[in-house]
């Protein structure tokens, strides 16, 4: 067993090796490497598979009570300053490793089908592998510095992948937006890390937590400063996990290929923020103000995401806002101290949301056969409908995903969401109220999505809708809002391969449906690990400060009545949401458009994403431009002035400087002797 832990560093290194090999191949022998498409894919997938096997072995050993393992090497040291690097394996790490590797593995298999005709197939695999490596590195990091390094690395991979089709303006702009937004958060995180180091002299989570409390208790550090540091650190998760107010980048990031949306922007990287909060739990737990901020940020984000998701017509954007909303749940759970509930939801969400995204990719893939490779058409739900007939596997798995996210028992989402809502109720009924309302909306928009995609009649051949949608797209000036999935440039050979403009969509190849089916299993079953009456999950994942018996004790005090009330409430509102959705989009008894007209301001607010993009554009983008112009002015006047002044001085002292320029050796010698003389006189 020890051997397993000694070689645990292989888990992040294996995908890195794959990425390096393929990357080097791409740099050195571009054409040759690009020709070996499948061979490269097999190499990378098998390396990640090996990492997955290792991860499961570690998870198994951790479940069986192996002690946490920490291995560090001194990376840099100068005097009293020591920086260590290494890896740590504990319950949380083991869980995250398993989640990340499985999702990444399945997404990679899926990619083979999805990207089959893309010229950047091999490059895409290299990026995917690099991302997996960074994400796994983040998970095993034992201290804040290393976390920060990998944090930036996953961010970088995310930009690379969002801008994968960099020749498309929208994709390039989305990548830029993600970059800038994340910079804000990362800057806060960096400040927070440095501040915590200044205050406590450590980068270790537990040590920081303990010392910070000692300092606050002894009065050496005022509470305000401690809270400020906590909030700064929290800024990192806010950006990475797309929490309000830095959530704006995530929907645009859907410009990336769909496997990326599934892996990075649904299952893993965005969850890194929640993971960091979990890691920093010892620090945050001692700062109630920060915990409240976290909880309310999460709750508001959950509500915000759900309200926007209601009106989205683009299937991927809808899912993106749903992700924001679900991340809000997790953050809220963390904020109310429901450590294991938040992480439980992280795990279940990772599986069912990855499946939903992959399912949407499959739908888009199928739609492209009908409407062509224009993302404005292929991703719009108004053109879909009735796909269940053509894509049975996809539709079934999608339905499972919808049930899971809506919180219908016994699907995974029910147990985790219910646990969060229960904890929230314990902390603050208002939080519970927001979460409860959001749960209803979640059920509504997910089934709206399901019904308009898979039920009813197929609308993909109705030319007038296509024309209308294309008109809408052209009307939108800002390219960054345009959704996308497939590179329009490769329309040509894409058409040959698919024979597009067939009349009906088709089911995706087995490499795409197989991951869907595999992911459906945990989406259904994994929730049973964390049932409140027999909570294995909580017995495994519990806050670092608490001891295992205490946790079990609390868990065993289970009250059926309370559970029934809570569960009944959330299931009830979910069912209401589903019913409403079926009335509006399945049987069309209620006219959605009429409601939209009646609630025009609310509808517009939701459709325009609460106008966040516009506000940010006016305040920050324009403001920055104005500021930059002023700085330029200053630069022009002051700096250039200084340079000109130097030039002026040079002209004035021209006679002297000429000697320098003409390079007379005698003069040089003179200077040497003069300097010698001067130094003797000055030193004496």
């Amino acid at each position: 067993m020890e051997l397993l832990y000694q070689y645990a560093w292989l888990i992040p290194v294996l995908p890195l090796v794959g990425a390096m090999l393929v990357g080097l191949g791409l740099i050195s022998f571009n054409q040759g490497t690009n020709k070996l498409r499948q061979a490269n894919a097999v190499l990378i997938v098998s390396l990640l598979g090996a990492a997955m096997v290792l991860s499961f072995a570690i998870l198994w050993s951790q479940i069986h009570g192996h002690a946490p393992y920490l291995k560090t090497i001194e990376w840099a040291s100068a005097g009293s300053f020591h920086l260590t690097m290494g890896y740590t394996i504990d319950h949380l790490t083991a869980l995250m490793l398993a989640v990340v590797t499985t999702v990444a593995f399945l997404v990679m298999i899926y990619t083979d089908g999805y990207m089959a005709h893309d010229p950047g197939y091999v490059r895409f695999y290299a990026y995917l592998s690099l991302f997996s490596s960074s994400m796994l590195g983040l998970v095993v990091s034992p201290n804040l510095v290393q976390i920060y390094v990998f944090w930036e690395l996953v961010g970088m991979c995310s930009y690379l992948l969002v801008g994968f089709w960099f020749d498309r303006k929208a994709a390039a702009e989305a990548a830029q937006k993600a970059f800038v937004t994340n910079r804000v958060g990362d800057f806060g995180l960096l400040l927070g890390i440095l501040g915590l180091f200044w205050a406590t002299g450590s980068f270790d989570f537990e040590v920081i937590g303990e010392r910070l409390q000692d300092l606050v208790a002894s009065g050496a550090l005022s509470m305000g400063v401690a809270v400020l540091l906590g909030v700064l650190v929290f800024l990192g998760p806010v950006a990475k996990s797309a929490q309000f107010p830095l959530h704006v980048w995530l929907p645009d990031a859907m410009e990336g290929p769909t496997p990326i949306s599934a892996l990075i922007h649904a299952a893993t990287m965005v969850a890194a923020g929640v993971f960091l909060i979990a890691r920093m739990f010892p620090v945050f737990a001692g700062l109630p103000v920060v915990m409240n901020i976290i909880a309310w940020t999460g709750a508001f984000t959950a509500f915000l995401g759900a309200t926007i998701a209601i009106t989205q017509n683009d299937i991927k954007k809808g899912l993106a806002y749903s992700t924001i909303s679900q991340l809000g749940y997790m953050v809220m759970a963390m904020g109310v101290g429901a450590y294991s509930a938040g992480l439980f939801h992280l795990m279940t969400h990772a599986y069912f949301k990855a499946m939903l995204f992959l399912g949407s990719g499959s739908v888009i893939h199928g739609m492209e056969a009908v409407v062509g490779h224009d993302p404005a058409l292929a991703q719009d739900m108004r053109l879909m409908g009735g796909l269940r007939k053509y894509m049975p596997v996809t539709s079934v798995t999608f339905l499972v995903g919808c049930l899971a996210i809506s919180g219908i028992p016994p699907f995974a989402g029910f147990w985790s969401k219910d646990e969060i809502l229960g904890s929230a109720f314990g902390a603050n009924p208002a939080l519970w109220g927001v979460g409860w309302l959001t749960a209803g909306m979640t059920a509504f928009y997910m089934f709206r999505m399901y019904f308009s995609t898979f039920e009813g009649a197929f609308r993909g051949n109705q030319k007038e809708i296509q024309v209308q949608l294309l008109g809408e797209k052209d009307g939108k000036v800002v390219g960054a809002f345009g959704p996308g999935a497939m590179d329009p440039k490769e329309l040509g050979h894409g058409a040959e391969a698919h024979g597009y403009h067939s009349d009906s969509p088709h089911e995706s190849p087995v490499t795409m449906t197989l991951p869907l089916l595999v992911l459906a299993v945990p989406s259904v079953l994994i929730g049973l690990l964390g049932t409140p009456f027999n909570n294995y999950f909580e017995g495994f994942i519990y806050p670092p400060g608490e001891l295992h018996p205490e946790v079990m004790e609390v868990a065993s005090e289970f009250d059926w009545t309370e559970f029934a009330i809570m569960a009944g409430n959330s299931v009830g509102i979910a069912l209401i949401g589903i019913t409403l959705a079926s009335l509006m989009y399945l049987s069309r008894k209620v006219d959605a458009a009429a409601i939209a007209v009646r609630l025009q301001p609310l509808y517009q607010l939701s459709l325009n994403k609460w106008y966040f993009d516009d506000i940010y554009d006016t305040v920050f983008v324009q403001g920055c431009r104005r500021l930059a112009r002023q700085v330029l002015e200053v630069d022009y006047n002051v700096v250039d002035g200084a340079v000109n002044l130097t030039g002026f001085l040079a002209v004035v002292t021209g006679e002297g400087l000429k000697y320098f320029e003409n390079g007379r050796a005698q003069f040089y010698a003179l200077i040497i002797f003069l300097a010698v003389l001067g130094f003797v006189i000055v030193a004496a």
Partner: protein
């Protein structure tokens, strides 16, 4: 003061005066040939000073090498070039002359003050050796062995360098593959000449 001491003192003074006078001549003569000849005078006077210090071998080497070789080489060089060039007076030459004179005078003053202030430690071995050649030889092969051997490397390298610079270049390898956009001129820096300084 014995007679020997008196003779030594007087000859030291005379030789010192010769060194200074000849050195001033090297600097101040306008005609470069005169400068070269007075330089020979400097070397010979210094050789005389060496004799006064019982360094007979060094003195002989000084005459042989500096007067016989270096100075003659300088004269050869002057004659071979033999270019009658009228120096156009540089504008404000007096500034340079003055500053050079000031710095030199300052250094001279400084060193003089230092010489007078310093209490020189007497050398441990005061008695004159029988033969300085033997002494030098012993040193060369004992405690100065390494510098002595290193000097041979230095001389070898200087020899090679002199040959490299002096020889008429026969260009090797006509097949010098040109990588750049234009054929690089042989034996010149591949970079283009800098723009003329304004």
């Amino acid at each position: 003061m014995t007679l020997a001491d008196g003779v030594q003192l007087v000859s030291t003074l005379i030789l010192a005066a010769m060194v200074i006078g000849a050195a001033l001549g090297v600097v101040l003569f306008d005609n470069i040939v005169y400068s070269a000849f007075t330089l020979g005078g400097v070397f010979i006077s210094i050789a005389g000073l060496y004799i006064l210090m019982n360094a007979d071998f060094v003195s002989a080497a000084q005459v042989l090498i500096y007067v016989g070789a270096v100075n003659v080489l300088i004269l050869f060089a002057i004659m071979l070039v033999n270019k009658q060039e009228v120096y156009s007076p540089v504008p404000r030459r007096w500034i340079r002359k003055l500053s050079a004179a000031l710095v030199s005078a300052g250094l001279f003053g400084l060193l003089t003050v230092m010489l007078l202030q310093t209490e020189w430690l007497p050398n441990a071995a005061q008695t004159a050796p029988d033969s300085t050649v033997i002494l030098i030889g012993e040193h060369f092969f004992s405690d100065y062995l390494l510098p002595f051997e290193l000097a041979s490397i230095l001389l070898l390298m200087a020899l090679v360098g002199a040959v490299v610079i002096a020889r008429r270049e026969s260009i090797v390898g006509e097949d010098t593959a040109i990588v750049g956009e234009q054929p690089a001129p042989v034996l010149e820096l591949p970079e283009r000449p800098r723009e003329p300084v304004a």
